[in-house]
Amino acid sequence: MGAQLLQYLFSGVTTGSIYAIVGIGFTIIYNSTGIINFAQGEFLMLGGMISVSLAHVLPLAAAVAAAVVITGLIGVLLQLVFISWLRSPSVLRMIIITIGLSILIREAALHVWNEKVRALPFWTGDETSSLAVLGARISPQVLWVLGVCGLMVAALSLFFRSTLTGRAMRACASNANAARLCGIRTSLLVTLSFFIAAAMGALAGCVISPLTQTQYDMGTSLAIKGFTCAVLGGLGNVTAAVAAGLLIGVLESASISILPLAYKDVVSLAIMLAILFFRPEGLFGGRPASLLGTRRA
């Protein structure tokens, strides 16, 4: 029983950390632009798809690196072409534009690749290799997922705290006009935030691909769940988004033991609706120190 529980816990934490990365992507773009980018889930799909294709000709590490950079550039392209030149667009308009973009990316992926499920090879070992951890058996890829996601979060925190660019981005997030008056080029930082969000998403998409596979239409459910994490974390607090991601992942994986598998998504989405209804400021919203500065929710 204990081992069983641990098994659920591991699988929950694995998917949960991916949700957290999506949620952080939302947060980064939201803080720099005030836009919720509904195409956030598509970045994971693109990362996975591009790396799978490149892995045929390149070594795995190079394929993943290239996929991350390419997806990051796609994010930059989206921002420059569709978003940068709009002057104070209404929220409704931005929602519709990013929704439309997510459909376009998905359909493009359907035509570039196809509707088949793909997967990267396992980063170490193969699908049969497993490690024993406290009586539960986990794939080494789980460790890759946890390690990569943990590193990303750590690097991001460091970036926002200790680098000039990162601090400028935080300044931008808390007050764009004041930041501009201090000589910060806000437009450049907005573009950078799209690059970071897209590249992070792509890396998450690559590292999870061996476990959950990659399909052209995986973006929507990831986006909704990632948004749930971002909201739970109060849209701005990276650490809280991570905690929220892990929580959702574990609840989702626990739901499989009592409900049919098909209802897995229903559970996490119902949690999100409940959160929105009862605590729209987020679970940890009352916490004073939010990593990215003030929230604008």
């Binding site: 519709i96 459910s221 609706l273």
Partner: protein
């Protein structure tokens, strides 16, 4: 505003409906009527959504969910519910509509307190939940959907059925519903309620300060738009004789939003025109493999370049006053 001018869109619609039928029958192209009938039922959805988005300014990315609840309820009642409604099969559509209205009421109460991104995401999640429940429940036929939904006999010998011989009749039933829907929508928009909704769209706090009961009006229009969607869904289920899970998909919801946006966001007649035409083309397979991509591109292009809708691009048709979609957030 004179009565004639007010109801001109309704009269025009009725005239176009009759003319199209006569032309198609005369030119032996009456097989087009099948897709036109189907597109009428989808147009009902967009018409309802137009009230919600264009007038109350509330986005919904879950209207395919209401369409599906309407369609699946009547489908289950008239197939699986052996003996349940056999005594009065026509009751299954009203039951479906009432059920959808109740669901919309229950969902709407908490959801409509949210704004902007939160509202969009919550409605998206609602639609997603409906589609996942349908895919995971054997009562709803899971991935296969429900087939062999019987025809429904209405009054005066009218039958909702996809039979070839009943094609013209069903075309008129469907478009009569749209015409009634347009008539009601125009009435609503021109009334006290419509003014209240526009006030909410402009600025919720200001509307509330002027004595508009914001939450009640928002809820009312949300339920109304869900009812439009469920009527469309329920009739289409009987007309097609089947319903599949793709009707509940997120892509369908997005498509409805795209059609309302292309119709001019706050223009019932624009929505009907754009939606009837594009849905018809889509059903005829005019966009081929790029069907969903066309609607995605439409959405992005309209919002970037023509936030007043396709008709807003024609200078003569643009109404005076401030731009509708460029309102402050």
């Amino acid at each position: 505003m004179s009565l004639l001018r007010r109801y001109l869109p309704v009269i025009l619609l009725a005239a176009v409906v009759v003319i199209v039928q006569i032309l198609l029958s005369a030119t032996k192209l009456d097989y087009f009527l099948t897709q036109l009938t189907m597109s009428a039922y989808y147009t009902l959805v967009t018409l309802g959504l137009c009230l919600l988005m264009g007038y109350a300014g509330q986005v919904s990315l879950g209207h395919a969910g209401f369409f599906a609840i309407g369609a699946y309820t009547t489908a289950v009642l008239s197939t699986a519910g052996a003996g349940l409604l056999r005594f009065a099969p026509w009751l299954s559509i009203p039951t479906a509509v009432v059920l959808t209205a109740l669901v919309a009421l229950v969902i709407g109460m908490p959801v409509l307190r949210l704004r902007g991104h939160y509202l969009a995401m919550a409605t998206l999640a609602f639609g997603f939940i409906v589609s996942r429940v349908i895919l995971g429940t054997s009562l709803f036929g899971q991935a296969d959907g429900i087939s062999d939904i019987p025809a429904i006999r209405l009054f005066a010998g009218l039958v909702i059925s996809g039979k070839r011989t009943l094609r013209v009749q069903n075309y008129y039933i469907a478009w009569t519903l749209v015409t009634i829907g347009l008539f009601l929508a125009i009435n609503l928009v021109g009334s006290r309620v419509g003014r209240a909704l526009r006030a909410i769209n402009g600025n919720e706090e200001a509307a509330a300060a002027m004595g508009v009961n914001v939450s009640r009006y928002k809820l009312a229009v949300f339920v109304t738009s869900a009812v439009y969607a469920s009527v469309g869904g329920a009739f289409l289920a009987h007309y097609n004789g089947g319903i599949g899970p793709s009707e509940a998909g997120v892509m369908k919801s997005v498509r409805y939003v795209a059609l309302v946006a292309a119709g001019g966001m706050g223009s019932p007649w624009g929505t009907v025109a754009v939606s009837a035409l594009l849905t018809f083309l889509s059903l005829r397979g005019a966009f081929g493999l790029f069907d969903d991509a066309v609607f995605g591109a439409l959405l992005v292009a309209i919002m970037l370049f023509a936030p007043n809708g396709l008709f807003g691009l024609l200078p003569g048709l643009r109404r005076g006053g401030p731009r509708r979609a460029g309102r402050p957030r």
